[in-house]
Symmetry: C2
Subunit: 411 residues, 2 copies
């Protein structure tokens, strides 16, 4: 029997306890030993549970207990999760985590401590909830030179985009509905502004390319400015708009890491990922495109990934697992305005649509013109040829019209 | 440095050599040691390669070489792959394999020998080519009670079905095109009759539910009888037709394992898997639906999975990995005619369509009637309510018409 502890008894933490208790028999077969929840850390009271006796408010009861070998950190937030995790790893305990914020900010340091202490720091649940993503990238795709990861990494925004497409409702209304359904929080900033997706693409980039990436270095744009008109033009172009996290290795050793809404062509599998589902597409030189799909959030899916990490940590109490990456490096993340892209552009003409179109063709050469039902007479929508974002934006400033929307294409 | 051998230098074997040589630096980082191809077994001559000196025609040169610790069996076929693999495992070498036929027929026995000898028998490449499937099921989803696996497991048939849908061409023409493109073999039986998909669903069922399943016990139906009319009716019903391998655990401890073409509703992710791509959907009690998608065949994708297994075997030279399942058991695979399904049925009326429709409604109750362009005046197509296949087929025999097609719905 191995004793474990859970830090945090919120949505994920209570799910971890539930899965460990409900699937105990099956899990002990997998782990080759039974797993006993010895302590649960939470400042709140939880009377009336079958395991109410296990709660403590004192972190030291976990840190100082030599029987506890594996701890699940499912508190979320940077502090005190960082200090607790560091102390646990330094004391020779393995830690498994669903805390994307912590891994994105401090993953390199915590992995280094785990390596020094020959214990494990695992965090499958931090990206894609219950979807196996990190371990398959690290293990199964080990033979590949990976060169790109792109994904739908946030269920809330994907739910909103799916609804905007299917029902034609504007962003604000769909957000309000998502909040009513419990898919979006009261303060939806972290989701709709892309910060949550940003943390996840940082973790994926670090794992795929071997170097830590800080969220602050990643260009991040949310979905709050997407309009129904944009969605209609996307449909005309054979695309849907999705919030895409993307990391690409360039030949010069720099990494492009971005989060922004993009026109996704319907032939890309990501275009068919709907509602709260997430998906991660990985591109390798041998394997080609591989995609992992499933529920990216929610109590039991996320708990399922945390418990799989607990099982793995229990099976490898003194054997290091595969995860590691180097510290961040200045200049490693490239300037996104130098990326080569195509842009969808929607412009309101200053004077006449035909003059605007003539000017646009003068500036960009041949354009892919888009249309939609109920298009305003002074509106022009088109897709530019490939060029650096910087160049394209400079040309757009010269248009004889007001740019209403620009959205990148996912090629 | 670890010495390995490759048995078979066909499409996959040459890909394994290529990946090991091309990505050597990256792979040695992952494996924490360099991997050296010491011998390649093949009866043919391969002059002019950079590694032509490594070839041997004598299996004993590999078996008796104590330096060779890991062997990739990529010969295919049951014999002599079975005898070779058994001898290698018994001599204490780890074996990795892409040989789905061998794993589906002898997996339980070979895994038992590997366990006794404390070596590894790994075969990620046997299902889904380069897509990480088996390891994520065994490891990442370990916390789940899994209850269903369904997948598009054969690229050739999926290419054919995709083309039949997009171009409206009949089976024979698309098959001929697939053969021209090299996606189908001259003798396409193993693919189009579902035998290849059958071996893969046997392996998935064994891994997900813990008991060996023999291909001979699995009801297997290919795609040769699908017509353009069926595809049009499927479209009318909001579905596409795909060859689906499926394994489900029933509450009575029996397992339903089948391979047949099915109407797949477009809201199921599998409906969007096109061309030669494969996908496996796994359903767990905690995680919900998870899907793995990618190229299910091809030289480098398959080689990528074999090499990932080589890396894993090299890292665990004397530590058993996770894979194991129990021997097959009589009566464990249930009779597919007892499965509850809905059927799409296309019937040519003996006399008049209206009499046929009246009889069908008398037999089945309310029907979901389907239509298509160019429908013959004496043709009726409908979807039955849920019932056991046995019952439905008995009712169909009573119809006043000739049954032209029956295809199951994937619910």
């Amino acid at each position: 029997m191995i004793d474990v502890a859970i830090m945090g008894h919120g949505v994920v933490g209570s799910g971890v306890a539930e899965v460990l208790l409900k699937n105990a028999e099956h899990i002990s077969e997998k782990a080759k030993t039974s797993i006993n929840i010895k302590k649960i850390l939470d400042l709140r009271e939880f009377p009336g549970l079958t395991y109410s006796d296990k709660f403590t408010k004192d972190f030291n009861e976990i840190l100082d207990d030599p029987d506890i070998r594996v701890v699940a950190e499912v508190m979320g937030g940077l502090h005190p999760a960082y200090e607790f995790t560091k102390a646990l790893l330094e004391s020779g305990k393995s830690v498994v985590s669903s805390n994307k914020e912590l891994v994105a900010e401090k993953g390199d340091e915590l992995l280094r401590i785990a390596e020094e202490k020959n214990v494990n720091y695992l965090f499958e649940a931090s990206v894609g909830g219950g979807i196996p993503v990190l371990r398959p990238i690290a293990q199964c795709l080990a033979a590949n030179g990976l060169y790109e990861v792109q994904g739908i990494l946030n269920g809330t925004t994907n739910f909103i985009m799916t609804k905007m497409v299917s029902d034609g409702e504007p962003f604000e209304e769909v957000l309000a509905e998502a909040q009513r359904l419990g898919y979006a929080e009261k303060d939806p900033t972290a989701d709709v502004e892309g910060h949550d997706a940003c943390r996840k693409i940082c973790i994926l980039a670090a794992l795929a390319f071997g170097k830590h990436v800080y969220p602050k270095d990643v260009y991040t744009e949310g979905i709050t400015k997407i309009t129904s008109a944009d969605i209609q033009y996307a449909d005309f172009a054979g695309c849907v708009i999705k919030l895409i996290g993307r990391a690409r290795m360039a030949d010069n050793g720099k990494c492009s890491v971005t989060v922004y809404p993009a026109f996704v062509p319907k032939k890309n599998q990501l275009a068919h990922v709907e509602d709260v589902f997430n998906a991660v597409m990985v591109r390798g030189d041998a394997v080609g495109d591989v995609m992992f799909y499933g529920r990216g959030a929610g109590k039991l899916p996320t708990a399922s990934a945390v418990v799989a990490d607990i099982i793995d940590a229990v099976k490898h109490l003194s054997a290091r697992k595969y995860l590691s990456w180097a510290p961040a490096e200045d200049g490693y993340v490239s300037d996104h305005t130098e990326d080569t892209v195509r842009l969808y552009v929607r412009v309101k003409a200053d004077k006449c649509r035909d003059c605007l179109r003539a000017k646009a063709e003068e500036l960009f050469g041949e354009l892919q013109l888009l249309g939609r039902n109920g298009e305003a007479g002074d509106e022009l929508a088109f897709i530019t040829p490939f060029a650096s974002e910087k160049q394209l934006m400079a040309q757009l400033a010269k248009l004889n019209g007001t740019v209403l929307s620009t959205i990148r294409l996912l090629d």
